[in-house]
Symmetry: C2
């Protein structure tokens, strides 16, 4: 009979569980209160000023119903702003605030440290290989989740 440890799904869940715990611990010790999801969203808003929520969701592969709450919390913390779009009155344009920029800058060392801790059981080479295999598996399965990754249209 198959063990849990032979199930990629179980290993995926477990690795993600640890990754989130490590991220929260490192960021918390640095004095910030930001989740992995909020961090990714904020960094993506900074890199793509004025993008709408659907585009943001596509860039980080979040469900569009999840993004609503994530952006709510970023706005509530004063890290991002949500404005009505002038081109499309359905859409909301997202901008990072000065405070958001400051937090992103200060939080970076903790985030990098967290990424290292997640892989601390692996050699540098193994860490690279793990990421390569994850990227490959993810690319092949991209369309299988409700929230696939979407590039920005040129």
């Amino acid at each position: 009979m198959k063990d849990n440890n032979d199930m990629p799904g179980h290993l995926a869940r477990r690795f993600q569980q640890i990754a989130v715990a490590v991220f929260l611990a490192e960021v918390g010790e640095a004095g910030f209160d930001l989740t992995p999801v909020q961090y990714a969203a904020l960094a993506t808003i900074k890199a793509n000023p004025g993008l709408d929520q659907v585009t943001l969701a596509g860039l980080i592969a979040y469900d569009r119903t999840t993004i609503t709450g994530v952006v709510d919390r970023l706005v509530q913390k004063g890290l991002a702003e949500r404005r009505a779009s002038s081109r499309d009155r359905r859409a909301r344009e997202l901008e990072i605030t000065d405070e958001g920029r400051r937090v992103l800058r200060k939080i970076t060392p903790a985030v990098e440290s967290a990424q290292a801790i997640m892989l601390r059981g692996l050699s540098a080479k193994e860490g690279e290989e793990l990421m390569r295999l994850l990227r490959k598996a993810i690319a092949a399965g991209n369309e299988l989740s409700r929230a696939p990754l979407r590039e920005i249209q040129a």
Copy 2:
């Protein structure tokens, strides 16, 4: 600047997201309504009859507060039973029902198929290597989450 695709945490989240979607799709097509978490819990109850909830949580690395709800739903679906323990009046002993056994048996092909689909972008060798690296990273980070894996004490 670091891309999301260079962050093991982001890749972990994305891979898990796809894994859950694939599991639910395969199991759903087979006519069953069981989540990955519920499946793992049920299979573990079957393999360890009479275990209590804390032991169950340890065997699959779930938080003990999460287990309460998961077992609630298994009981509600008639797949498992929760009994008061005779040895320890705080504890609840868990048992799989005949229906639970039946579901577990019938659902296995869909579960195995899901595991294969998650890795469809990888060769057999790469899939093995991905699982090996995940196991290694997880083992090193086991104590970093609130819900570490715990073996049964002999």
